[in-house]
Symmetry: C2
Subunit: 622 residues, 2 copies
């Protein structure tokens, strides 16, 4: 059966395949937080022509149904179809990260005073050629030279196959490639004066995958690519993916999905820069603990079950061929070490990127991605915890929620008198949804203008047509044109308040654990794609960020890939990452007495204890 | 095109395929010392019916041609054929080695006082299960327990994939499998009280492959299999195979050929003993240096070229999957260390099996297989050399030569008066050729009865019809019936004399090197399949073995597989093999001054210097 799109594109759908599955198979990704189970109501598509069997309309409204909308995951073609995918259902990646923005990463590297020492070391050897009087084997000859330098290696089968010819083709004057971490010899090569090799710094986020292609001989970032993590079709959040990987038996599929994403990014980058993929000879992976397990295909089941145990926090250096990354086969792949099941290598990378572990001052690091992780500490100690903020700030579980990409409402201002909103949209285009920073703005403005109360409930006294009864109860219409409405519902607001409460309660608990008040925090680092757009003032008023002087906040962007980049360049940085991971004490908040109280107290705007928000208190009284 | 055999069996031949190639492809091996080049004249087959294009009749006589014989490698079917393979053209393996004969190997092992410690070690670990307070990762938990025992391992990717479930399925009470030599963790398993695992001791000979299937938990030899090394189709001797592997680009084909031989032996053994191949978890390979290189697919080119350098003498422990052996994938494969390009692991195995390296007495070890290797020494020193005896004692280059299998003439006695021979045939069946021990007997008897002189030339004065002019000059008819003659030609005798001279000259040179006379040798160990049948007295008269008291000779059988067996059972034996290899000083005879003189002096029967053969001298004078 053929499916035709308005732009003329055609795909085939197999017998018994839902539209969602047929699209996915052809690389057309549409939003589906639930992974295609008919519950999230996001994979709306419009059938323009042809017969389709709809098993379930899920959350679709009567009006939507009448306009021809169906849920792609619940709809099965019964013949050729003509289908339109509304823009809000399309998964699109964020703007291509400008390489210029990555320049300061090498500056950061320089401040570490580390020398360039990638995962493959090269040692120049000039061996005496064999003679009848010195007729030891090639391997013994190599070992004899290395013994003199105090180097002991192991010699894998693949290395040995190339040894005899590699030595002779280069007249016994060679570069010996080896991997220090695993202690393995990798090959002998012609010695070159100006070597040129590449590496990949990879951030595997729950939602996006970012790859930096790096010239590891000078640290230059050659290109940057990013894409959605196509594991998304197995669920938006790590828990759903773990369930799919284990109970669903989809571990291999999840592993392959993210590896394919990385391969799909590498291919075009290599082509456009005329780089032979075999010249990419090292990889550093940075991601949360679940992402690291799924990337390697390690069973993540026990991450989810109390007492929350990963298979590994520190991963041995394995090879590109083990993972299936299509570069030099024996390229070493280093995984930035994790701390615990819910604080991963992405957070260790974050600490490396902030250098908070080297400073005297007490800092707070917050990575607000699909989940929220926090670190507090200084050069002497680091405490860390994860708070299940949920994916709402990335659009998950919010009726019109979306990622901070073109078309997303990223800022909202509400007139205190008319209660009319004024919006800012990424790319200045027609709005198609609302992203995290827009949500923070909207909720704070609704609160300040009296549309919602401290508990986040709609105020019955607020007089405006923009508050109306929707399918999910009361909602506020932020934008409306041509029958397309962007709203925040009562449920959405509750989700947002729950998320901000989780984050604040996490920070609060962690501070209590170390016995410090908020004022002691001299620096707050905010990481995550989300963190580039956030309005600190409004996030404080809402009660997500602590009420401390505004100049203490710093936005760091994607610190996960930054840490991967640092580890890619230098052995010192890899040892530093391991040191950071071992410095960090993990606190499991979910089993900590008092956490629920903290969380409940933070379910207010900004908080039940207004003393914790003195400046907000003053403003509200003002 | 169909080829039918008298027994009704049918095979297909492809377009342009010679009969030799068509047979080979279907696993029908026929003798062809030259590897199918039309030069050795051994692959005779008889075309009974059908059209065949014959490119070259090679060495076939007019009579043979008239009887329908063709060379299989030079004959191309032009339609369906009916073909008969004469028994002397068939490659057949030696008698199945009786397991009873292997019993004394375990006795030998016991004398070493080594404990059973196969390549995979198992450590019983009972770990405390994780709790919220002790929530380190599985890998850290394992490492913590091993640290306490002072064990440090590396953790390959394949190990890690099974760690989480392996631990939990066994409630943290497990056997940890690891490989001591490579220091790799291999798996976690249910701890069992009476473990039962298997291993393979493999002798890769140039001509035959022998596999012992061993219960490595008690040392019992469960079964024994042997087959021809199908690398034979690439040439009878190591040099031809090296040329084929390198200049012919057939390295991979050679590697696969011998691995297939091993796999073909394992399959039926496992089936008949109801053993799961995955329970075979270690392998020891013993073979000459070229065989070891070809087994692993390492380029053997430089073994052949001066200064004769192998890629490795000591091989790291690699895995069954690297080699392609179809047993437990990560089963370690240990290669008995080699000494030099022409003294391999088979000879190190031989020393282990004789224990000559532990004794005070000076011993001589001789392995007379397709090549000849010798070792002289005692517990303090070992000297070794190879002599290119050539394959004649295994039938190669001898007109009616064959291996010591059923139908081979293994003993010859010639009446001094009538010059009529009396023969002994293996299996008491109709003779089809002559094997090494038969050749030694025949040449010695011909010499003693005056048929040939001291130079091995036919004596014109010898009066018997059995000496006649054949296609290759003069020949002696050892057996004749129904038109099938078994002869020794002048060329054959020259080959045999050259071979015995090479062996004796090698021993002689090696003794000169250490400054000892022959009388100092208190023990002579003779190894090789050949060595089971040899008549010492006659071998001395011929001048192949030194003229010392007969009781000093010991026949050892296949010491290569014996050494492999010892190394399979115990770490101590593997370290002992390495110690033996490093004890051995290799002398490259071919570049040694004086070797040619020694060789030329030994080209007489028994020798130009009769003083070296006092008992023979006395007998001849008597």
């Amino acid at each position: 059966m053929k499916i035709t799109f308005p732009d003329g594109k055609e795909i085939e759908a197999g017998e018994g395949q839902s539209l969602y599955e047929a699209f996915k198979q052809k690389g057309i990704y549409i939003t589906a937080s639930c992974g295609g189970k008919g519950t999230c109501g996001k994979c709306k598509v419009r059938v323009l022509d042809g017969a389709v069997r709809v098993e379930n309309y899920g959350k679709l409204t009567q009006k939507e149904k009448e306009s021809g909308l169906v849920l792609a995951c619940q709809s099965f073609p019964e013949g050729d179809l003509s289908v339109e995918i509304p823009i809000e259902s399309m998964l699109t990646v964020g703007d291509k990260i400008a390489i210029s923005k990555t320049r300061d990463l090498f500056e950061l590297f320089i401040t570490y005073k580390a020398k360039l020492s990638p995962l493959i070391s090269r040692l120049h050897l000039e061996l005496p050629p064999p003679t009848l009087d010195d007729n030891i084997s090639d391997l013994e000859r190599l070992k004899r030279a290395l013994d003199e330098k105090g180097i002991t290696l192991s010699y894998p089968y693949d290395f040995m196959k190339g040894l005899a010819d590699g030595m002779r083709q280069n007249d016994w004057n060679v570069f010996l490639c080896y991997q220090k971490e695993s202690g393995e010899a990798l090959g002998v090569e012609e010695p070159v004066e100006k070597p040129c090799y590449y590496g990949l710094a990879v951030d595997i986020g729950t939602t996006t995958v970012v790859v930096y292609l790096v010239d590891i001989c000078d640290g230059r970032i050659v290109d940057v690519g990013s894409t959605y993590n196509s594991q998304m079709r197995f669920g938006d959040d790590v828990i759903t993916r773990i369930v799919n990987a284990t109970e669903g038996g989809e571990l291999t599929a999840l592993r392959r999905a993210v590896v394919a994403d990385i391969n799909d990014l590498i291919g075009p980058m290599c082509e456009s820069h005329h780089i032979n993929p075999d010249d990419i000879e090292s990889v550093v992976i940075s991601g949360n603990t679940t992402m690291a397990h799924l990337f390697w295909g390690l069973n993540p089941a026990y991450i989810r079950e109390e007492p929350y145990i990963p298979t590994a926090n520190t991963f041995p250096v394995w090879k590109a061929k083990d993972a299936g990354i299509r570069i030099r086969k024996d390229a070493p792949v280093y995984t930035v070490p994790c701390v615990a099941s819910y604080v991963g290598g992405d957070i260790v990378s974050g600490v490396l990127a902030t250098k908070m572990h080297l400073n005297e001052e007490i800092s707070l690091f917050m990575d607000i991605g699909t989940n929220g992780e926090i670190v507090i500490g200084n050069k002497d100690w680091l405490m860390t915890a994860a708070c299940s903020a949920g994916p709402c700030f990335e659009g998950g579980g919010i009726k019109n929620g979306m990622r901070a990409t073109e078309g997303a409402i990223e800022s909202v201002k509400i007139d205190r008198e008319s209660l009319e909103p004024e919006i800012g949209v990424i790319g200045d285009s027609a709005p198609i949804g609302i992203c995290g920073s827009g949500m923070i703005d909207a909720v704070t403005e609704m609160f300040l203008s009296g549309i919602i109360d401290q508990r986040g409930k709609f105020n019955p006294d607020a007089k405006t047509d923009r508050i109306r009864e929707g399918d999910d109860g009361l909602e506020y219409v932020i934008f409306s044109r041509d029958g397309r409405d962007i709203v925040l519902t009562q449920v959405d607001i509750e989700n947002i308040v729950r998320a901000k409460a989780a984050i604040y309660a996490g920070v609060s608990m962690l501070l209590k654990e170390v016995g410090f008040p908020f004022e002691m925090i001299e620096r707050v680092y905010i990481a995550g794609g989300f963190g580039n757009y956030i309005d600190v003032e409004k996030a404080i008023v809402m009660g997500m960020l602590p009420d401390i002087p505004r100049e203490r906040f710093r936005f760091m962007g994607n610190t996960s890939v930054a840490g991967a980049y640092l580890c890619l360049l230098s052995e010192k940085m890899r040892r530093e990452a391991e040191r950071v991971a071992s410095m960090m004490t993990y606190i499991e908040l979910s089993v900590k007495g008092g956490y629920m109280d903290e969380f409940m107290s933070a379910m207010f705007l900004p908080h039940t204890e207004m003393e914790q928000f003195p400046s907000v208190k003053a403003m509200l009284q003002g």
